[in-house]
């Protein structure tokens, strides 16, 4: 039997080998599937809006300014909560990684707290701090602090002893170890930890807004549910996903720029 032989044109082969091609193709296939299924009308429009309807909802919200206000509100909460978490986790994680006593004291506590789901703190936060911005920011803070701290601590523990001791034999002091060896050495891992935990922060802001908020992308989705506006729900989900992807890519870019040595 003759071998079954398909000639793939060279240009197509080159396209397939492009690092982004398959990823983009996967998303495109999903979009096409969505269009076809929604267009065929086999599923009630109320449950599955067409891409065109979602796009229209997007235009409408963008024109009224709601979209931008919601994005702004959610992003600010994430930045506030995560920024605070990073600010505390950096010194705490470094101290725990560098000091065995402190590590033995705090690691079990943090490991315990880490397994308490942050959303379970929402009732307490609302009782303590009401319905304003503070409880939302604190929720993100609580939900990311322990992960950030433990990951930074681990990074510090993996700084080779030889590098630290070399520094001491070159006349370095403790301060030099911290600022000139440990900090640059862990920078790529810290950025990576932030990138990963940022996803959790982004989850938590939506949860907080679903529970109680005046604005934000989560609030918009929960309002849309009340009025059966599945097009707005789809829009909200897509926008949330896109912003998440954007944050992830920014961290990757920052890492490639600032820590080229680690790639």
């Amino acid at each position: 039997m003759a071998p079954f032989n398909v000639q793939v044109p060279r240009r197509l082969r080159r396209l397939i080998r492009h690092p982004w091609f398959l990823g983009v193709a996967g998303i495109a296939v999903l979009l096409v599937l969505w269009s076809v299924v929604a267009g065929l009308g086999v599923v009630d429009r109320l449950f599955l809006p067409t891409p065109a309807a979602v796009l229209a909802a997007g235009r409408e919200e963008a024109a009224s300014g709601d979209l931008w206000r919601d994005i702004g509100a959610s992003v600010l909460r994430v930045l506030g909560g995560f920024g605070l978490s990073a600010l505390v986790a950096l010194p705490l994680g470094i101290a725990m990684g560098a000091n065995a006593t402190l590590c033995r004291l705090l690691e079990p506590l943090l490991a315990l707290l880490r397994y308490m789901p942050a959303p379970a703190f929402i009732p307490l936060l609302i009782i303590y701090f009401g319905l304003g911005e503070l409880p939302k920011v604190l929720l993100i803070f609580i939900g990311t602090l322990f992960f950030n701290t433990l990951m930074i601590m681990d990074a510090v523990k993996f700084v080779p002893r030889e590098l630290l001791e070399t520094t001491l034999t070159l006349g370095g002091r403790r301060r030099d170890l911290l600022l000139r060896v440990i900090t640059p050495f862990i920078a790529p891992q810290v950025l990576d930890a932030f990138r990963i935990n940022m996803a959790a922060a982004w989850n938590l802001v939506i949860v907080a807004e679903l529970v109680a908020a005046d604005n934000g992308l989560g609030k918009r989705i929960s309002l849309a549910q009340r009025f059966l506006r599945t097009d707005q729900i789809f829009l909200g989900l897509i926008v949330i996903g896109l912003i998440g992807l954007l944050i992830d890519l920014s961290f990757r870019l920052l890492m490639r720029r600032s820590c080229a040595w680690a790639n």
Partner: protein, 258 residues
């Protein structure tokens, strides 16, 4: 420069679990001398090096440099480790400059000396490359340049070529020998490689394992004009076989009683 170790003992652990790692080590190293400590694993040779570097304190006995007791690490004793020896985020030149920056030397002086020491180790062309872009042998040469640039009184080498391939290791031994001859450095080398000790050092102390102790000291009087010839020469080969026998014997015998 004079490094003096007098009855240095090191114990790890406490009470019943205490383990004697180094037992009454005494020797002296003079200016310009190349001294090797030869021993198999368990001979405590790395611990001994860490004591000299000031990274650990002895349990008893004393170490002093030019009459001053060693109390901690300092830039008068430059150290080169076997691995993880370079800062991976810094270029070769920045690695060499690191110690001088810690000392707060002037920028101009740092730049000049960095170029000089990179040239000394034959890596002037690699100045802007990151450690991961350098071969293992080049990395160790940068580490040596960095230690030299801090202008230590004593250079400590802890199995510096142990992680390298045999051929590169031989080339590095020739490089180090040439460097020592040119600069008149004082060097303390730790190795388990008999050839390395015999080729490079003027004096070799053989360490027995468990506990680490000096069982034999050799002062070498070999013609080191051509290391490649030396490797093949009869006196070298004889010494080499004899030391190999000694080390094998030491590994087999249990430690003597207290």
């Amino acid at each position: 420069m004079e490094l003096v170790l007098d009855s240095v003992c090191k114990r790890f652990g406490e009470g019943r679990a205490a383990q004697l790692v180094l037992d009454r080590i005494s020797f002296t190293l003079h200016t310009g001398q190349f001294l090797a400590l030869l021993g198999s694993s368990g001979s405590g040779k790395s611990t001994l090096m860490r004591l000299v570097a000031g990274l650990e304190a002895p349990s008893s006995g004393s170490l002093s440099l030019d009459g001053v007791p060693i109390r901690g690490p300092g830039s008068d004793r430059g150290m080169v480790f076997q691995k993880y020896s370079l800062y991976p985020w810094l270029t070769a030149a920045q690695n060499v400059a690191f110690g001088m920056e810690l000392k707060g030397l002037e920028r101009g002086v740092i730049r000049e000396r960095t170029a000089f020491y990179l040239d000394v180790v034959g890596l002037a062309d690699a100045a802007r490359r990151l450690p991961r872009e350098l071969s293992g042998g080049m990395q160790q040469r940068v580490a040596i340049a960095r230690a030299l640039a801090a202008e230590p009184r004593l250079l400590l080498l802890d199995e510096p070529f142990g992680a390298l391939d045999l051929q590169i290791r031989e080339a590095m031994q020739e490089f180090l020998h040439g460097l020592w001859q040119r600069t008149g450095l004082s060097v303390l080398l730790i190795t388990h490689d008999i050839d390395e000790a015999l080729l490079l050092a003027q004096q070799v102390h053989v360490l027995a394992p468990r506990p680490g102790r000096i069982v034999e000291s050799l002062t070498l009087d070999l013609d080191k004009g051509d290391l490649r010839q030396l490797r093949l020469s009869a006196p070298f080969q004889n010494l080499r076989h004899r030391l190999a026998d000694t080390l094998r014997q030491l590994d087999r015998d249990p430690a003597p009683g207290p």
